[in-house]
């Protein structure tokens, strides 16, 4: 018996060895899976579920899905008769402010995802719940900068709240169109910690998939609400958390998600209460972009 298991172990090890020798440059993973959408924790083998196993056949869920998607499709088709994007034309042209997210009930939490560095093995926690009288959203938790010991990660300690991608009928990607506005307006109540706002726009090339436009959100702390207005010209481009050398302004016509991140290297509990998030057209703000667009650090 021991001989048989020993033999099997030998075969398994040899298969792993063969794979590692087949794909030496991408850590034993076939190259098409090397740049997957998901983060692969170091040490965790890549899950190779074949596509025919991923289908989930469930009748009740299917019926629900059909009802939901056809309902959305009907709504989309009827909205066109009302005006562009379902709003009357006069409103679409003349509006100077628009409220994008208003947290007035538990169903508004379904559009948001709270995450922390638990996904990479850290010890921070982030939770999201309705605030006072169901009128605000409260993001709270604990930040811990202890680095997970997996040999690859060097920094840790972050929490974030990110909106989900807008989906139309049949899970088509829909985008926010903020082209008639030029500033982001928030009403928040923080505890004095500096946050960062990340806006992810729709990209074309796969190299740009981690591109995000960021800017700081400084909270004052205290019992009073804080109104924050940040023009979109101040957002700088970063990819995978690193500021890029070639900067360009954020294009407002196809925005996917907006998120708030906390990573100020201070261990301890945190709290952020958001009343609403809107966009406005500040006619006094004429700046197109706050950073230089020419090529800095030219090549050798």
């Amino acid at each position: 018996m021991a001989l048989v298991t020993n033999r099997l172990m030998c075969i398994k090890n040899s298969r792993a060895y063969l794979k590692a020798s087949l794909y030496p440059l991408s850590n034993g993973v076939p190259p098409e899976q090397a740049h997957t959408r998901r983060y692969r924790r170091p040490g965790v083998p890549p899950e190779n579920i074949p596509p025919w196993k991923r289908i989930n056949l469930n009748f009740a869920k299917g019926v629900e899905g059909v009802k939901k998607h056809f309902g959305l499709l009907k709504k989309e088709m009827l909205d066109r008769f009302e005006g562009p994007e379902g709003r009357p034309l006069k409103e679409h042209i003349l509006e100077q402010t628009r409220v994008i997210w208003e947290f007035r009930g538990p169903e508004s939490l379904a559009h948001w995802v709270a995450s922390s560095d638990r996904e990479i093995g850290g010890k921070s926690e982030a939770y999201m719940k309705m605030g006072r009288n169901n009128l605000t959203v409260l993001l709270y938790g604990n930040l811990c900068t202890e680095v997970p010991r997996d040999g690859e990660t060097r920094y840790s300690g972050y929490c974030s709240l990110r909106s989900k991608q807008l989906l139309g009928a049949f899970d088509r990607k829909k985008h926010h169109d903020w082209s008639s506005f030029n500033s982001l307006y928030l009403r928040i109540r923080g505890d004095g910690r500096p946050w960062m706002i990340n806006i992810a726009a729709e990209t074309y090339f796969s190299h740009q998939k981690d591109d995000m436009y960021n800017y700081f959100l400084f909270t004052r702390g205290g019992p009073y609400w804080q109104d924050v207005k940040i023009p979109f010209s101040k957002f700088f481009l970063s990819s995978r958390g690193r500021i890029q050398d070639s900067q360009h302004p954020l294009w407002l016509d196809k925005i996917n998600t907006i998120g708030f991140t906390l990573g100020d290297k201070a261990d301890g509990p945190f709290q952020l209460e958001i009343d609403f998030i809107g966009v406005c057209n500040d006619r006094a703000h004429t700046e197109e972009f706050a950073y230089e667009k020419y090529k800095r650090n030219p090549e050798v």
Partner: protein, 396 residues
């Protein structure tokens, strides 16, 4: 355990390691050769035994530099030094970083022709240089011209560390003063001064007056916890803040409705967290709200209210179509050494002197269990300790 199948050995070679080895010998990695493995971190740890200061740290750097002109093992040494910097407390010191960059041998890594420039000349050393600058970036240390000169001498222009330096010098000045509510780098040590600073920060009103209601000098309390080092010094302080508009709001408050003392709420100043308490009332139900008519004699230059029936076009409307969150008015803020009712009671009695209405209003204490458990019950309205104090008579 089987013998190794090795090729023919030379007669003077060392014998193959036998399988019968003691545990001790197996532990030390160079058992056969008689040497021990010492890392560069041990050098720092030896120095740390005397004291963990900038002087000892720089001494270790000097010792390494003087040991060998060629600076063998400098990459590993610099990585170990970067790891040990927070322990010695020098991570915010630019001169130490410059000395650390001085450890690199100069002009050896500068590429001399286009092939060397193309092929990432001395990649390990360049990566080490980039890591030093990233350490500086993490701790918010702005490099200076000495750093640039050193980097250019070591790696040449258009190398990765110099590019990283250029990025630092582009972005750091831009983001240095971007905080509309800046926190001073050096926070005051005295808790009363710290409380004054934070209350001025959160009051939201420039007219707010900060008053120190009670400060007891440092009293030595017997420390019950044996693991605490030193004596248990504690200072009782109660510092409060109230602005004239808050005072008028409180004077208009209906004495039959109770007033709530809520807390502790966290406030972060850089890396320290302080806690504050508020006195507020519940919002009035819509039926009881009274809008006082504005006195037209307050301003003679222009009318404060106009009774014109004009509507704004959608193109001129800059307000957001959101119902404002109804919250009761805040009457005063305070910070205290401890959040128990006795200390806060001193604050309330101090407030009573300037706001006599508090004497007739019932005060309810809605205190959370304590700062440590704030993450479990972080909702500000959780009532853990509700103590109804009956109407206090003014005792003056």
């Amino acid at each position: 355990s089987r013998r190794f199948h090795t090729s023919a050995r030379r007669p003077d070679a060392k014998p193959a390691p036998s399988s019968e080895r003691t545990d001790q010998e197996r532990e030390s990695p160079h058992a056969g050769t008689g040497k021990t493995l010492a890392t560069y971190e041990d050098l720092f740890e030896q120095a740390a035994r005397d004291s963990r200061t900038k002087a000892t740290f720089t001494r270790v750097l000097e010792v390494f530099c003087k040991k060998d002109v060629r600076r063998r093992g400098h990459v590993e040494f610099i990585y170990a030094a970067l790891k040990k910097m927070p322990e010695f407390g020098v991570e915010g010191d630019l001169s130490v970083y410059n000395r650390l960059l001085d450890v690199f041998p100069k002009e050896v890594f500068v590429p001399r022709n286009y092939i060397q420039r193309m092929f990432n000349h001395y990649p390990r050393q360049q990566e080490c240089g980039v890591q030093v600058l990233e350490h500086m970036e993490n701790y918010g240390v702005m490099p200076n011209v000495e750093t640039k000169v050193l980097l250019v001498q070591i790696f040449g222009e258009k190398s990765h560390p110099v590019r990283k330096y250029q990025r630092l010098m582009y972005w750091f000045p831009r983001f240095k003063h971007v905080n509309p509510y800046p926190v001073p780098r050096e926070l005051p040590r005295d808790p009363v001064d710290l409380a004054r600073l934070s209350l001025q920060r959160i009051a939201g009103d420039l007219d707010a007056r900060v008053t120190v209601y009670e400060v007891q000098p440092l009293a030595r309390m017997p420390s019950t916890d044996l693991s605490e080092s030193g004596e248990g010094l504690s200072q009782l302080y109660v510092v409060g803040s109230q602005s004239p508009s808050q005072q008028t709001l409180l004077s208009k408050h209906n004495p039959e409705r109770p007033v709530f003392v809520e807390g502790p709420f966290p406030l972060w100043l850089r890396k320290t967290c302080v806690y504050y308490y508020t006195v507020r009332a519940d919002p009035l139900p819509p039926g009881e709200k009274v809008d006082e008519p504005v006195d037209p004699e307050r301003n003679f230059f222009y009318p404060l209210e106009l009774d014109l029936d004009l509507d704004r076009d959608l193109g001129d409307d800059d307000d957001f179509d959101v119902d404002e969150v109804e919250e009761g008015p805040v009457f005063a803020l305070c910070m205290a050494s401890s959040g128990d009712q006795a200390t806060l009671g001193k604050w309330i009695s101090g407030l009573q002197e300037t706001n006599p209405i508090l004497g007739r209003t019932p005060t309810v204490f809605r205190l959370n269990p304590g700062p440590r458990e704030i993450q479990a019950s972080s909702e500000p309205e959780r009532k853990e300790d509700e103590d109804l104090l009956q109407s206090r008579k003014m005792t003056q």
